[in-house]
């Protein structure tokens, strides 16, 4: 027993087993995660010729869907493992998600962060009661350091995406969307490490099998598109994009298998389209969305995905962004 979560994942193709996991995750999250609203806009419908349903995970607790997977993974630990505590490596939404979910489930929590992370992110994570461990980039990788801490302190490592309990938790957002919006022809999902799209496509499989699910990446971080097209896992080191949630170098082993098995297509949008959609959402919808959060919205608004006449779901993954970037003067 290393204290690290054992993957214990169903095979990617075993849809029934995944759907069962998804149902269990939803039960664990009921009354804990917000059932975030599905927002519609007459202007957006008129502009796109589609009927669009925005699932607003920017309004989720700690500001992103990541809370769902983190909560579910921690809830799946044995009571003893939860009591010993958890560790995660992230400087973004996963850090805050694990910190918050751990605190509320009474689990000690260590977050491994680069010492170069912005002070505001450090403070936010500390604010949720987590212990911070800074990693020195020269000696060992962030992931390796988290694994070492897990071994040394008998903590359970909560991975950011490549884990069945994380994937099942993330899928609960799309599951709610299908319930609230009804049948959809198309679902657009931001792609970083692939946890959200994996959970989403499994939810579609369960609730609306005819819905095409399309993943959207930033142009500079198109490893997922290239992996999807080539059939082999492509890595891009440190993609240069404002979509910080999609700077992951590649999909995971498990998420790639699920994407290959079920996702209909993958596409990209440029950073300029992300900024434009963020500002449009703030101006017109009065909603703050982060760059990664609007990947699907930008693909729709730029016409990168053809949606005319369709009922289209768009997952807005988060809203944690420096407000200065919304200003048209910057």
């Amino acid at each position: 027993m290393t204290g690290v979560l054992r993957p214990d994942a169903p095979a990617a193709g075993d849809a029934a087993a995944w759907i069962h996991r998804l149902g269990e995750a939803r039960a664990r999250l009921a009354g804990v995660a917000h059932r975030t609203p599905v927002v519609t806009s007459r202007t957006l419908d008129a502009d796109t010729g589609a009927q669009v349903f925005l699932k607003c995970e920017n309004l989720q607790r700690m500001g992103a869907f990541k809370f769902r997977g983190a909560w579910n993974a921690i809830a799946c630990l044995t009571p003893a493992a939860r009591h010993r505590g958890v560790v995660a490596y992230s400087s973004g939404n996963h850090a805050q998600a694990v910190a918050l979910a751990a605190r509320e489930q009474g689990a000690p929590c260590v977050i491994v962060m680069p010492s170069t992370a912005p002070a505001v992110k450090l403070e936010a994570t500390r604010g949720y009661g987590a212990e911070l461990a800074f990693h020195d980039q020269a000696s060992e990788g962030r992931e390796e350091m988290a694994e070492r801490l897990a071994r040394e302190r008998r903590l359970s490592l909560i991975p950011p995406f490549d884990h069945p309990d994380v994937i099942a938790g993330q899928g609960s957002a799309a599951a709610e969307l299908f319930e609230d919006a009804g049948p959809l022809d198309l679902l657009l999902v931001p792609v970083g490490g692939g946890g959200l799209i994996s959970g989403s496509v499994l939810a579609a499989r369960a609730q609306c099998p005819s819905c095409r699910v399309i993943g959207v990446e930033p142009e500079a971080g198109d490893d997922g598109v290239r992996s999807f097209r080539s059939g082999t896992l492509v890595h891009i080191e440190a993609p240069n994009t404002i979509a910080d949630g999609a700077r992951t170098p590649s999909l995971g082993r498990l998420t790639f298998a699920i994407v290959r098995a079920y996702v209909s297509d993958m596409t990209t949008v440029p950073d300029a389209a992300l900024l434009d959609s963020m500002r449009w959402a703030a101006e017109r919808l009065k909603l703050v969305m982060e760059p990664t959060g609007v990947l699907g919205l930008a693909a729709l608004r730029t016409g990168k995905v053809e949606a005319h006449g369709l009922r289209v779901g768009v997952l807005i993954s988060g809203g944690n962004v420096d407000l200065a970037s919304l200003s048209p003067r910057n």
Copy 2:
């Protein structure tokens, strides 16, 4: 017949007649105005010790509650009067509200605006299909010019607040809040000309008579507080505040009578508290709110209104704001 809406208002004290008007307005607005969400925040509850329900009229069509009153007033016109058209004077949310509601009800629309209004506001109003009429501040007042146009062109003047159909329409927001949040101990409402608080306090009268309704103004525009305390209508010319929706020089004749009859108290908050609450809402709630929109929220967050242990409703009146003002760097 001048074409101007006849006030035909119940006496302020005739609550039953007002509640009947409110019910009619709600029926007219069903399926037309958004039923805006009621947002809750664990952080806000923890910070205030209250259970807080934010009625998000920043998510209303055209971005403010004003759509409700404008729609209801235009819907109350005779078909012939609607066919001739409407006129309104405003450089703010009322202009866009009347323009949008008129277009959707097939009524020609003229908006009287100062020639000094920001281009973005002119464009937004034109975007809803309204004809703009610029008034020359030297020769006649804006209101007088609108009244002249109403006479000359046989248009119906849609006043910004001091009219029973406008008041009844605005009250539909609080009516929804009481339905969605359940009984409240306290309701905080922004006050400019008093249309929103008049409608809100009448809705409280109908649905939750024990709820105390408190109006909130910016410190520099405290004409309502002074009117409420003194019992005589106080005017302040051009209050210097960022809360542009509360720059009205005084309450109306009708709204003042309703405020005196039913409102429990009035208070003020400084502009700095408005900016702080706007940024907090964007950071934590991911919602864009305008300065006037957060008057009630700021009164709550600064402790200006004691709310510990109470169930508190807060009307967020609108979200039309220059996004640059949300940036902490400004």
